[in-house]
Every structure is written in structure tokens, then in C-alpha cells.
Point group: C2
């Protein structure tokens, strides 16, 4: 989740995910992560408040990218077209490291209640950022809220398919998140 912050920050995330995979989240200490990443504990704490926040590393950046994409969508764009612009902006920042780490992060999260809670809060933060960006361009509530929820679901589903599927497809995440958004849009007309 840290492609946009290379160097120490990315090394910390990779080392942590390796250790979570090998020995579990609960049994992994900050000292072990720092050692594996080749940094000191105080360098770790300059980047992250604790190990729980580590996997949320990219959240603020991701929220910012989604919101910027929505804000920059053409004035006449519908709510879901604006969400699609946000997904494209954020997806284009995701590279090979994100793709490779994705399934291992999912495995670590699935094995830890604490990380599951963090992941849930992260999704809520993304939805809030998108809702705010939509309201700022004049989308009314509850349409903005709903469009943002669809955006989070589309990002999650698209990212999972991209990172967990085989590597034959495109290297780019955007086609996956946009296809997921189109599926959800179609689903919204089957609600009855």
C-alpha cells in the first residue's frame, strides 16, 4: 500500500507482511519488523504509531486520490461517473508491490480480529472521503452516500480480483475496479 512512499516505509510494510505470514500478526513485534526491514525501532515509530496502523499505511493517500479524482471529473459527470474518475485516479497509483502484497495482506487480516476491525474502519474512512468529495460537487444526500458505498465496494472487489487472480491479464488495476463498478451499477437496477 506504500508505492507512493518508497524507501523505509515500503521496506517496513513488506517486512511486516512477511512476518505476519510466517508467524502470525499477534506474535510479531515492532522490534522484529524493524530488524527485518533493516531499520531501528525509532525509525519505525517515525513512520507508524504502532503495528496495527501499519496496514492502513496507504489509507490517507488512497482517500486523497479518490477524492481528487472525483473533484476533477467533468462538471456534467453523474455521481457514478465521478466515482469512476476517483477509482481511475487511485487505481493508476497502484503498482506491482501493491499487487504482490495484496493477497498476503488479506491472509494476515483474515487471521486477526484486530486487523479486521482496522480494515473495516479503513473502508468507512474511504467512503467518508468519497461522500465528502461528491457533496462538494453538488451531489445531494443520500445519493452521494450511496455512490460512495458503491465506490468502496468496487475498489475492494476490483483490487481483490486484480491481486488474487493470475498474472495473464493487464498490469493495470483500473480496468478491474471500473468493471466492478459497472457490475454494482447493474445490480442497483435489480434491487426491486
Amino acid at each position: 500500500m506504500a508505492r507512493w512512499e518508497p524507501g523505509a516505509r515500503e521496506r517496513i510494510v513488506v517486512a511486516a507482511v512477511d512476518l505476519f505470514t510466517e508467524q502470525g500478526y499477534d506474535d510479531t513485534t515492532v522490534a522484529q519488523i524493524a530488524e527485518r526491514a533493516g531499520i531501528t525501532k525509532s525509525t519505525f515509530f517515525r513512520h507508524f504509531p504502532d503495528k496495527r496502523e501499519l496496514l492502513a499505511a496507504g489509507q490517507e493517500t488512497l482517500s486523497r486520490l479518490l477524492a481528487e479524482g472525483i473533484a476533477d471529473a467533468p462538471a456534467g459527470a453523474s455521481p457514478l461517473e465521478a466515482v469512476a474518475a476517483g477509482l481511475t485516479r487511485a487505481s493508476d497509483e497502484m503498482g506491482p508491490t501493491n499487487r504482490e502484497l495484496g493477497p498476503r495482506i488479506s491472509a494476515a487480516v483474515a487471521a486477526s480480529t484486530e486487523l479486521q476491525e482496522r480494515a473495516v474502519l479503513k473502508n468507512v474512512g474511504l467512503a467518508a472521503a468519497m461522500t465528502e468529495a461528491l457533496l462538494a460537487r453538488g451531489t445531494t444526500d443520500p445519493v452521494a452516500h450511496l455512490a460512495a458505498e458503491l465506490g468502496v465496494l468496487a475498489f475492494k472487489r476490483g483490487f481483490a480480483e486484480w491481486s488474487e487472480g493470475d498474472r495473464d491479464g493487464t498490469d493495470h488495476l483500473a480496468p478491474y475496479t471500473l468493471a466492478a463498478l459497472a457490475d454494482l451499477r447493474a445490480a442497483s437496477s435489480s434491487l426491486g
Copy 2:
């Protein structure tokens, strides 16, 4: 949130919400809650694992009611009609105590990060219960997921309006949650 579990359980919740309002969530201890409710600490712990779980008291019951209402909806009901049946079932269990405590619980939650996190996780639990009930009646994914999200939003919005508004309207919650669902349904056709 505890109308269906009268007696000690409801007294504990009322006492806790009073204390949270008076002195804040962080500064309130289990011992103080027990004293105010006229019970022992060990009685408290027979009902709740800790003070954080206290406001989630009704979650399991609420999830069960929503899911039962969905399961019992007529076979030909659309996904949103089934969600409406779930909302009706759950709303009909909410009485004056829930209505009176609602705004004070909201105030306590707004003042505490810990309680906000718990509230977010609670909403996710409700959505999961509704999604599962919809999938069980043959609604496909992602329609089930989307309908469940609308159901949670409708319950939250309807409950807030019912408990925070004046007391001139109906005593029943169901008209509020169903109106909120209708609004969200209308919004889903404006997504573009």
C-alpha cells in the same frame, strides 16, 4: 437497545448512558455503572464482557430480527421488499426506552473514538446478517450486498429521525425506517 431483555440488562444500559452523559465514557467505570444500576460488578459481567460492548447490547438481537424478517418475506418479494420486511420486524421491537436512549447514546458515541469504532463494527455486523439472509433466499451477489447496505443506512437514518425528532409523530419506528428505505431506493436511480 435492550427492550427485549428487561430487568438487570436494561437497568445497566440506562445507568451507563446516564453516566456517559454526565461524566463521559472514558471516565466511567464498570463499578460506577453497577452501583448506579443497583447491581454487583459480577452481575454486570454476567451480562457484558466490558463497558465497550455495552452499547452493542442489542446487536445480536437486532441482526436476528432483521434476518428473520427477510427470511419470512413472501417468496416473490424483491430484494428491497425483503429488506423492508426485515426493517419492519426489527422496528416493531423498538419501544419508548430505545427512543428515549437513542439521542443520548448518539451523544456518547460522538464523544468517544472507542465507541465510534464499536458503532462502525456494529453496522458491518448488521449488513453481514442481512446479506446472508438475502443470499439464503436466492438473491445473487452483489445485489444482496447492496440491498443490505441500503437496509443498514435506512435503519440508521430512520432510527435517528424517530428518536431525535419531536414526539408529535407516530410512536412506531417502522414508518421512519421504511420512508428512509424508499428515499434510498429513489436515490439509487439517480446514480447515473
